[in-house]
C-alpha cells in the first residue's frame, strides 16, 4: 500500500487552497483526489463574476478564481488525480479511490483533509407533492447543463428558494432567453446574498414571493405548471389561496447539504446543525489527523472564505504531520439566543494563543444586535450589527489575548444581545 503524508479529498476551492498552504508550510508529499474531470470543483460552472474580492482584491468569475489556485498548485508540482473518486476513508486513515487509469488504489495517509464540498437538497428532501415528470432540477444541475454542457433545461421557469444559486440561475436563464416567471421563497426573507437579489432579480423584473411555496407539480411527462401557495406563520400552505403558474421547469434552490458520507465512514463526529464535522480551531475533527474545510464543513457564502479556512486547514495538517500532538481536552463553544452555529465548534485547551477567526450564522433576521463572546459569563468580545440574517455569514476576529481568555475558561458562549 502506498504511504503518503497528506491526502486531500476534493480538488475544488477548498482542496486547492489547503494543498497550496500545506506545500508552503514545507510539506511535499501531497496528493489531491478529484472525482470530476478537471480541478476547480463547482467554481467551473459558476461563470458569473463576484468571486475573489477578498482574496485577490478584484472581481473574477468562478473559473478564473479556480484557475488562480490551479495554477498555484501546478506551479508547485503538487500531485493530483482527476476522474478519481474516493469511495472509502477508514478510521485508520486508509483512503480508497477508484479511477479508470489507476484502478482501485489504497493509500495509507498520515493526515487527510476532507474537502469534498456539498450537494443540493433535492425535491424529495422537501416533500413537494405532485407529478414526477422531467423538468424539475436542482439549480446547480441546471447551471451545469447551461454553463458546462451548453443545453437549455427549460424555457419557462419557476424557481423555488432564493438561495444564491437560485438567484444566479434566474439571471442566467433570462440571459439565455428563458422566461423566469417567479422566484418563490418559503421564508419571509432570502437565504441568498442581498447583492444577488438586486443584481439577479430586481434588475430583470423577476418577481420574488416571500412566504410562498410550491405545493403541487403538474405534468405527466414534462412539467406543465406548478401550484404556488402562500404560507402562514407556521409555514403551512394556505391552500385556498393557491395559484397555478404555467411553466415547463421548476428549479430548486432549497439548501445545500455538506457531503459527509466519507466522513461518516471514517468515524468523524458530525454536527446536527451544520451537517459538517465537529472541528477545533485547527479544523481537525474528532479523528486525529482528519481535517475538514470548505463547504463540506459548513456552507459558505463566498469562496474567498472557503479559501481562507482551507489554507488554515492545510497549515494545521502539516503541523500535525510534523508531530504537533492534538490536545485531549476540548472546550465547547456554546451558541445561544439566535446564533445557530459557530466554526470552530470547539477549542483546544492548550497554550497556543494565536489570533482566531470565528465564522457563524444566525437563525433569523435580527436588527440592531450585538454579536458577543462570553468566557465564564464575562464579555470578551462584542460587535454591533445593524442587521444580521441567516443568509449572510458573520465573521469575528479575536486577538491572541482574547483567545487566551477563552482557552482558560470553563464555559464559552457566543450569543446575540438584542
Amino acid at each position: 500500500m502506498r504511504k503518503m503524508n497528506l491526502v486531500i479529498v476534493g480538488g475544488g476551492p477548498a482542496g486547492l487552497a489547503a494543498a497550496k498552504a500545506a506545500y508552503d508550510c514545507g510539506e511535499r508529499d501531497i496528493l489531491i483526489l478529484e472525482r470530476e474531470a478537471e480541478l476547480g470543483g463547482i467554481l467551473n460552472q459558476c461563470i458569473h463574476n463576484g468571486f475573489g474580492l477578498h482574496t485577490f482584491k478584484e472581481e473574477l468569475t468562478g473559473p478564473e478564481y479556480a484557475q488562480r489556485y490551479i495554477d498555484q498548485v501546478v506551479e508547485r508540482g503538487i500531485e493530483y488525480r482527476v476522474n478519481a473518486t474516493v469511495i472509502d476513508v477508514s478510521k485508520d486513515k486508509v483512503v480508497t479511490y477508484v479511477s479508470a487509469v489507476d484502478g482501485l488504489t489504497q493509500i495509507q495517509a498520515k493526515a487527510i483533509i476532507l474537502a469534498c464540498g456539498c450537494r443540493e437538497r433535492p425535491r424529495g428532501g422537501i416533500n413537494i407533492a405532485g407529478m414526477r415528470g422531467a423538468g424539475v432540477f436542482s439549480a446547480g444541475t441546471a447551471q451545469k447543463l447551461v454553463n458546462i454542457d451548453g443545453y437549455m433545461p427549460g424555457k419557462e421557469c419557476v424557481i423555488l428558494g432564493s438561495g444564491d444559486i437560485g438567484l444566479i440561475m434566474a439571471r442566467r436563464m433570462t440571459f439565455e432567453g428563458a422566461k423566469v416567471k417567479a422566484v418563490v421563497e418559503l421564508m419571509p426573507y432570502s437565504s441568498g446574498l442581498n447583492r444577488n437579489i438586486v443584481q439577479c432579480l430586481n434588475d430583470f423584473d423577476i418577481p420574488l414571493y416571500f412566504s410562498h411555496t410550491v405545493v403541487d407539480i403538474k405534468g405527466k411527462d414534462r412539467v406543465t405548471g406548478v401550484v404556488v401557495a402562500p404560507v402562514d406563520e407556521k409555514l403551512a400552505p394556505i391552500m385556498d389561496k393557491a395559484e397555478l403558474i404555467e411553466c415547463d421547469t421548476l428549479l430548486l434552490s432549497v439548501g445545500l447539504l455538506p457531503e459527509n458520507e466519507l466522513a461518516k465512514q471514517g468515524g468523524v463526529e458530525l454536527s446536527n446543525v451544520t451537517g459538517g464535522a465537529v472541528v477545533d480551531e485547527n479544523m481537525m475533527t474528532n479523528i486525529d489527523g482528519v481535517f475538514e474545510c470548505g463547504n463540506v464543513l459548513h456552507v459558505h457564502d463566498l469562496v474567498d472564505f472557503v479559501s481562507a479556512e482551507s489554507e488554515n486547514a492545510g497549515k494545521c495538517a502539516v503541523a500535525y504531520i510534523n508531530g504537533l500532538e492534538s490536545c485531549a481536552e476540548k472546550i465547547a463553544i456554546n451558541c445561544t439566543n439566535g446564533v445557530r452555529y459557530c466554526v470552530p465548534t470547539q477549542l483546544n485547551r492548550d497554550d497556543n494563543y494565536q489570533p482566531l477567526n470565528f465564522k457563524m450564522r444566525v437563525a433569523n433576521v435580527f436588527k440592531k444586535v450585538e454579536l458577543a463572546v462570553f468566557a465564564d459569563g464575562v464579555k470578551v468580545f462584542g460587535k454591533k450589527r445593524p442587521v444580521v440574517a441567516p443568509g449572510e455569514m458573520e465573521s469575528i476576529n479575536l486577538t491572541a489575548e482574547q483567545v487566551e481568555t477563552l482557552k482558560k475558561a470553563q464555559h464559552i458562549e457566543i450569543t446575540l444581545i438584542k
Partner: protein, 475 residues
C-alpha cells in the same frame, strides 16, 4: 404470424414470457411504454407476501403462497435482489389481539408455514425501533422483499435470451379472432397475428379484454403514495412491518428495501385516470403519520423521494387468471397485491396452459439463468480491481451516492431489452436513486445514453414520450 402474443411488459407479462420461452415457440411481447416495468411494477411496496392476508380459496391466496415458495430459487437463477426478511403484523390494541389469531388461522388455511404470535416485548426484541404501543404481533417468517423492477428486468432479459421478441411503444388498440387466428393491431398501425394471446396489460387489462370478450371488466385504478427514506436510517426496520387491518383500513407499512432504504406507504385512493400518479400533500402526510404509529423515530428529514403507483383493482376483488370465453385468449386481470408475490406462480400456470393448448415442445436451447449487471458497490476490492482491469469504464464512478460506474450504465443500455432513458438506467443500475436524487449524475448519464444510442442530447428523456430533459442549445 406468431405463436403467442403477450400484451404487457410488467411483471406478469415478463414472467409469462420467460416461462413460455422454455418451449419452442415464436413469442412476441407488446408493451405500450418504451421499456419493461414502467407501470404498476415499478411503483409498489416490493413485498413478497407470506400469504396470510388473502381470503382462503381465492386465486390471490393460491398463487401468493405458491409464488412465495419459488422466490429463493428464482432469485438465484435470474440474479435479482430478494431477501426473506420476514413480515410482522402489528397489533396496537389489547381488545383486537384476538384478530391476530384469526389472521394466523387464515394464513394456515392458505398453507402459509411457520406463523406465530409474539407479545409486544418480544416484538420489540425482534424489532428494537417498534413503538411501545405494540401489544402483539403476528410473525410471518416466509415474508420477503424484492426489487420489483429488477425482477421484471431479469425475467425480460432471460426471456429475450431465450428468443422472445419485445416490441415497445406498441399500444394495442385492436384485437379480433377470425378462423382461429388472432389479429392484434397497435396504435402505430403495426399488425401481427398469433394463435394465442395473453392479456397481461395491468391497469389496461380490462380494455384489452373488452376488445374481444363478451364478459366485460373494469379496472379501478387505486393509487398508493410512498416515501423512501435514506439508507442512513435503514436500521429502523428489518422485518416488513404491517399494521393490523381494522375498520379504519389496511394501515401503512414500514419496510426495508432490498437496497437498504426504508419504504413507507401506501395510501389507497381510487382514481378515474389510469395515468394519475400525482402524490398529494394530504396523502403523504397521512402515510407518514400512520407510519409513526409503528416506528415513532421515523424522521421526515430523512425522506429522499416520494412516489406513487396505481393498483389494478377490480370489484371482483380476486385475480382473474384464466383462459377466457374466447379460446386461446388468456386473461391475467385484476392483478393487484399480492400480484408481485404471485407472479412466478401465475407465469408457470399460464405458460403451462398455453403450451398444452399449442402442444409446444421444450425449447432445447433454453437457458434458465441470467446474470445481473455487476454491481460495483457490492463487490470486494479485489473484484472491483478485476472488473476495472477488464473494462476501465468500471473505474469511472458516475453516481456518487449509490457508487454506480459508467461500466454498469453502459451495460444497462446495451442489454436486451436495454435501458433507453434516465429512469430505465436508474431502475437497472440505481444511478440517480440515492440521496442527491440524480442532481450530480443526470448530465453525465444523459451523455452516456446519447452516446450509446447515438441520439442528440435533446432527445434523451427521463422516461420516454414528451419527458425530454433539455430543449436544445444555449444561445
Amino acid at each position: 404470424m406468431k405463436d403467442i402474443i403477450i400484451i404487457g411488459g410488467g411483471i406478469i407479462g415478463c414472467s409469462i414470457a420467460r416461462e413460455l420461452s422454455r418451449f419452442s415457440a415464436d413469442i412476441l411481447l407488446l408493451e405500450k411504454g418504451n421499456d419493461v416495468s414502467v407501470g404498476t411494477t415499478k411503483a409498489n411496496s416490493g413485498i413478497v407476501h407470506g400469504g396470510h392476508d388473502a381470503y382462503p380459496n381465492s386465486k390471490k391466496a393460491y398463487y401468493n403462497v405458491k409464488g412465495n415458495a419459488m422466490f429463493d430459487q428464482l432469485s438465484k437463477e435470474l440474479d435479482f435482489p430478494f431477501r426473506r426478511n420476514g413480515s410482522m403484523v402489528l397489533c396496537f390494541n389489547e381488545d383486537l389481539k384476538c384478530g391476530l389469531n384469526d389472521l394466523l388461522a387464515r394464513g394456515e388455511q392458505n398453507g402459509v408455514k411457520g406463523l406465530y404470535i409474539v407479545d409486544g416485548d418480544k416484538a420489540r426484541e425482534m424489532e428494537p425501533h417498534l413503538s411501545k404501543s405494540v401489544v402483539a404481533a403476528l410473525v410471518i417468517p416466509s415474508g420477503g422483499i424484492v426489487s420489483p423492477y429488477e425482477m421484471a428486468v431479469a425475467y425480460a432479459e432471460n426471456a429475450c435470451t431465450n428468443g422472445v421478441e419485445f416490441r415497445f411503444l406498441s399500444e394495442v388498440t385492436g384485437l379480433k379472432k377470425e378462423d382461429g387466428i388472432f389479429t392484434v393491431t397497435c396504435a402505430d398501425g403495426y399488425t401481427e397475428q398469433a394463435k394465442v394471446v395473453v392479456n397481461a396489460a395491468g391497469l389496461f387489462a380490462d380494455e384489452i379484454n373488452n376488445l374481444i370478450c363478451e364478459r366485460k371488466y373494469q379496472v379501478q385504478p387505486r393509487k398508493g403514495d410512498y416515501m423512501l427514506m435514506d439508507k442512513s436510517v435503514g436500521y429502523l426496520a428489518d422485518h416488513t412491518l404491517f399494521q393490523q387491518p381494522t375498520k379504519m383500513g389496511k394501515g401503512i407499512l414500514v419496510t426495508p428495501t432490498t437496497h437498504g432504504n426504508i419504504l413507507v406507504g401506501p395510501t389507497a385512493t381510487d382514481k378515474l385516470d389510469k395515468d394519475d400518479v400525482n402524490t398529494t400533500i394530504e396523502e403523504l402526510g397521512e402515510a407518514f403519520a400512520k407510519a409513526l404509529v409503528s416506528v415513532p423515530t421515523l424522521n421526515k428529514r430523512t425522506i429522499i423521494t416520494q412516489f406513487s403507483g396505481l393498483r389494478a383493482h377490480i370489484p371482483e376483488n380476486d385475480f382473474v387468471v384464466e383462459e377466457s370465453e374466447v379460446e386461446g385468449f388468456y386473461n391475467c386481470l385484476g392483478i393487484e397485491s399480492p400480484g408481485l408475490s404471485a407472479a412466478p406462480a401465475i407465469a408457470v400456470e399460464v405458460a403451462g396452459w398455453v403450451a398444452e393448448k399449442l402442444a409446444l415442445k421444450a425449447n432445447a436451447n433454453f437457458v434458465a439463468t441470467r446474470k445481473a449487471i455487476p454491481q460495483f458497490s457490492h463487490l470486494s476490492n479485489i473484484d472491483r480491481q478485476k472488473l476495472i482491469d477488464q473494462n476501465p469504464l468500471y473505474g469511472n464512478i458516475v453516481c456518487r451516492c449509490e457508487v454506480v460506474t459508467e461500466g454498469e450504465i453502459v451495460e444497462s443500455i446495451r442489454r436486451k431489452p436495454g435501458a433507453v432513458d434516465l429512469d430505465g438506467v436508474k431502475r437497472r443500475t440505481r444511478a440517480g436513486m440515492g440521496r442527491c436524487q440524480a442532481g450530480f449524475c443526470t448530465p453525465r448519464i444523459m451523455e452516456i445514453i446519447a452516446r450509446e444510442l447515438n441520439l442528440p442530447l435533446e432527445e434523451v428523456t427521463k422516461r420516454g414520450g414528451a419527458s425530454q430533459v433539455v430543449f436544445g442549445r444555449t444561445k
